[in-house]
């Protein structure tokens, strides 16, 4: 538990950590003020047992309790604020830190699964942490400190009984640690059962259309009940350890309380302790473990905190690239790739590739899917770092540029268009933040977006996405092209879209692409015959290598992938479906 708290404090930022530490320090005073009950009771009991009970006793006792209430309120107001600030700021700003970290991670690193995981950490995990951490820190620190203060009182009254209290407390705290350890084995099994359950459920949910279409109910894939029951079983087993341990620990507290009572009585009977002290000890022995019990009850939650912190730390530990190069202006906009190797997940993706793309020429990459086309274009803009070899922009290694001064020269059109839930105008302006409205409209016109934008309910001020307008695939594509036109970078990297293009807009999309790529150095993953044919250079990529290279007419005269590819494309675009087709 203390490990978890320590881990959590280490996880917090410098400022938040100081707030937590200060709150713990103030917690000592708070505990002292709570413990003022003891002197109040002492005043009364002393007066009862040793005579001198009067109205004054009543006032004194009431006064002490009233003071205790006021002082407690004042101090705990302060500690509550400190801990609330610490807890919520930590979880809020850790999200930023996680997002910030992504800037230094190779861009290609994130497949959709990885991004989904990070997103879930930056949202669910952190939200969960914010609620629990603050409360848990409050209760646990308060519990331990309060107990310590009462132990101090007891030591003051009688050293032996105080020692019993200390021993009990130590055994209790060790016990909770042991319990967590004993649980860890069962917890591992439960986590495995949970993973299995989650993956089965996901499989069921993702495949529900197929399950229903092919009536797969009763087959093994649809058997989600079994893993659910399994997980129930192991979670319950894990709980057993916890309950047994909590039982033993509570018993320890209470029996030690009984021992303290009997010790006090025995000291009183043999004359070494006054009756007043004996009664006070009995009262203390009841109060002492009250707050310790609460600490135990929060054990389950500390596990959650640990879990959250671990997940976030894992997200923050993904490998980063050094992106702090020099502010450089490239001499020209030519790109060259020299003997580049690149592997991912131990799989070689790019295998000793070299080529040159002169300034303002168009290079088209074609080849089977999974051959490495996308990775090559990503290496050009340093979405990844090469394993060996060099990528040069204007004769200078891309790693020598600072990331910003490198990326300035590129504009991208991705296949999967990502638009922000912001206005259309701001989405386009994203390419150039200081652009005027006129500039935005001009870019939109060039990308054939202006007309459909004007038809939207709020024109350029229409918010896209959540709560806003829904755009067709082709419209989104064109907005992303307008965004790239807006940036007006000398090098364009274009993954030609084929999916989600509405047929009636195909023409407009092609026009937009033409305008974007005019007079630029263009690197494209090309699918359309026309764009391939018009390219200055064509690179055919297969299994991470350039297998053919040259102009369209040259490649058409060669036996190889290219000619076959073109043939297939022609056939595909002329495909007709009819009752006679087989």
């Amino acid at each position: 538990m203390y490990r978890t708290l320590k881990k959590f404090f280490d996880f917090c930022g410098e400022k938040e950590r100081r707030q937590f530490y200060l709150s713990i320090f103030l917690g000592v005073f708070n505990a002292l003020f709570i413990a003022l009950r003891i002197p109040a009771v002492y005043v009364v009991i002393k007066a009862i047992l040793e005579g001198g009970l009067s109205k004054k006793t009543a006032f004194a006792a009431a006064g002490i309790i009233a003071a205790s209430i006021i002082l407690q309120t004042v101090v705990s107001m302060k500690t509550t604020m400190l801990q609330t600030r610490g807890g919520y700021n930590t979880s809020s700003f850790k999200r930023l830190e996680i997002a910030e970290h992504l800037r230094y991670v190779p861009m290609g690193y994130f497949n959709s699964e990885g991004l989904g995981k990070v997103t879930s950490i930056a949202t669910n995990t952190m939200e969960n942490l914010s609620g629990i951490a603050t409360r848990c820190v409050m209760v646990v620190t308060k519990g331990i400190i309060t107990t310590l203060v009462i132990v101090a009182f007891m030591l003051f009254f009688n050293i032996w009984i105080g020692l019993v209290a200390i021993a009990t407390m130590i055994i209790y705290l060790i016990g909770t640690e042991l319990m967590i350890r004993a649980q860890s084995k069962d917890s591992d099994i439960a986590v495995k059962a949970q993973d299995k359950m989650v993956s089965r459920i996901l499989e069921y949910v993702r495949g529900i259309a197929e399950i229903r279409n092919y009536d797969l109910f009763g087959k093994s894939i649809t058997n989600v009940d079994e893993p659910i029951d399994e997980f129930t079983k192991y979670s319950t087993r894990m709980e057993t350890v916890y309950e047994v341990a909590m039982f033993l620990l509570s018993i320890l507290n209470k029996l030690s309380g009984v021992v303290m009572i009997l010790m006090s009585i025995s000291f009183y009977l043999n004359g070494s302790m006054s009756l007043v002290y004996a009664v006070m000890m009995i009262i203390c022995s009841f109060m002492i473990f009250e707050s310790l019990d609460q600490v135990g009850a929060f054990n389950g939650l500390t596990r959650t905190i640990e879990n959250c912190v671990d997940k976030a730390s894992e997200a923050l530990s993904s490998p980063t690239m050094d992106i702090d190069g020099k502010e450089l202006e490239p001499k020209d906009m030519s790109l060259s790739v020299r003997n580049v190797d690149f592997s991912y997940d131990k799989r070689k993706i790019i295998d000793n590739v070299s080529f040159e793309i002169p300034q303002r020429s168009t290079a088209a990459f074609v080849g089977p899917s999974g051959g490495g086309k996308t990775t090559i274009t990503q290496l050009l803009a340093r979405f990844w770092d090469v394993d060996s070899g060099q990528v040069l922009l204007g004769g200078t290694d891309v790693r020598e540029y600072s990331y910003d001064s490198l990326i300035r020269n590129f504009a991208f059109v991705f296949q999967n268009v990502y638009l922000f839930s912001d206005t259309v105008e701001n989405n386009i302006r994203f390419g150039k933040p200081d652009a005027s409205r006129e500039d935005v409209i001009e870019a939109a016109k060039a990308a054939c977006c202006h007309d459909f934008i004007m038809a939207l309910p709020d024109g350029y001020d229409t918010v896209i996405g959540e709560g806003g307008a829904s755009l067709s695939g082709g419209e989104r594509q064109r907005i992303s092209i307008a965004r790239a036109i807006m940036k007006d970078a000398p090098i364009i990297i274009l993954d030609e879209a084929t999916a989600n293009v509405d047929p009636e807009n195909e023409n407009l999309l092609m026009k937009a692409v033409d305008r974007l790529t005019k007079e630029k150095t263009v690197i494209m993953i090309a699918h359309r015959l026309k764009t391939v044919e018009n390219a200055d250079q064509i690179f055919v990529i297969d299994h991470g290598k350039i297998v053919q290279q040259g102009s369209h007419s040259k490649l058409m005269n060669e036996e190889g992938i290219y000619r076959r590819f073109i043939g297939e494309r022609k056939q595909a675009s002329g495909w007709k479906i009819s009752s006679h087709s087989v």
Binding site: S76, R95, T123, L216, Y268, F286, N507
Partner: protein
Amino acid sequence: MEEKQKTENQAAAQPVLNKNTFSWLWEFTKGKRGTYLMSVILALLGVACMLLAYICLAALIRELVTGGRDHGFYITRGVQIGILWVFRYAFHGFSTYTSHGATFGLIGNARKQILKKLSTMPLGAVQTRSSGEYKNIICDRADQVEPTLAHVVPEFTANIIGAAAMFIYMMTIDWRVGLWQLICIPAGFVAFAVMMSSTPKYYPDTIKKTKALNAAAVEYIGGIEVIKAFGQSKTSYGKFEKAAREGADCFINWMRKENFWQNFGMACFPATMLGLLPSGVMYCLNGSLAAADLIVLIILSFGTVAPLVTVFGYMDDISKVGEIISDMADVMDEKDMVRPESSREVPKDHSISLKDVHFSYKDTEVLHGINMQIADGTVNALVGPSGSGKSTVARLIASLWDADSGEIRIGGVNIKDMPLAEYNKHIAYVSQENYLFDQTVMDNIRMGKDGATDEEVMEAARKCGCHDFIMSLENGYQTICGGSGGHLSGGERQRICIARAMLKDAPIVILDEATSYTDPESEAVIQSALSRLSAGKTLIVIAHRLSTIADADRIFLISGGTVEAAGTQEELLKSSPLYASMWENHIAARKEEA
């Protein structure tokens, strides 16, 4: 994609609790109610032991204060107290354990029921939530319910009943002091009431800000590629930072506003001594209370109010549980497709007819009376501008949704008069989003036909042009298709799905944009697979290239949710200006391309 965002939006607009939340929670406890009752009984036994322990303690104190010096008496009492404590915690532990078991069972029930629900509600409705949302509801958030629900029963019973029992016991010793000790309670209640009254003012704001913060995180991370590619990390980061600041500040501000009341309340509630000590002293002075009794009362009062404070700690969690269960209730409340157990009639052929079909999506009618006749064994195309409703028509025919009104018949039989599983046997619905299970290629294809032999599977694979690439995989047909294994490309996956549909050999084939995929390199192979799949079948095609369907027997032009025209390509070119202009556009694009 847009659809999904709309759904999320709607979910956000819904109230935190709907009236069905508790009835569903009650429903989920089915089979576990006895266990919960057991837990309550055990907790009560625990309370009884605790009370007895205090009674023994009181006897011990009285003896001590009145001068008893018999060691034996004290030891006996001490042992009694010890034994009672052991029983008290044993009962309490069992109670908590039982309640945990019941709660894990309850969550299991909820999971099973939601998953079962997914098999009876319209598939289209299932798909309005992403698999991530389902995972969130069924797996992640469901687990968060456990600690609260499991503790509520034993803790509430023990603490509330326990406190009440102690209070009554104190009242029997001296009712006046028993009441005096509660003097702080009104102040505590006032404090908590003031605190609670701020909840409606601040709580919605924290929900809103947290959602905004999460949305900012989702957007930043989701768009990280674009943000970095456009070198705009600073601008977007600023937005995110603002959201983070506000996300923390809303809680901090709320806490600041209720800080005094919360802490004052927390200090007041357990302060039984404030009333007890002075009143006890006064009654002692006037002789109406024995000194020994006062001391006993002092000790007992530690056990009366403090437990109640523990209960307050659960209030927040309970509202959170309500929220989570209400998300589940939203799924459970979706309308089911109503289908008979067995078919009343058998379709006489595989013709399809739609008669005055209306359909609304989220309260907006998108189809306004569709009428269509599709003859057995013909090729039919649905065309129209994007958003015209052509995909919706295909999905209604595939029974992914139920029409609001009107009839869809195959071979003369209303599809609502057939069990879903029966109807599905007639239909092969192929879209871009067919799913491969985390099983072998062989088993994935075999799903098309129960009990198909390996030979049949391979035959289907050959027809779809997948056999060769499957054999070239490291483990051939035994390759696992899931995310981790196989490294299958999009086109390869799609072909395996077509092979599966081929094996099913359904007489009606619906191709919903099945030819517009993210893997254009394998387009030609996929097309030939689709041609084989649909040969000789009643075919309904939505294609992204008009030329693809130019030879169809019948083309239905759908626009604005109605059938604007129908006929062959030639007929439509003459009769429909809209079709003619779509065709011109397409030809222009193709000229550019070819």
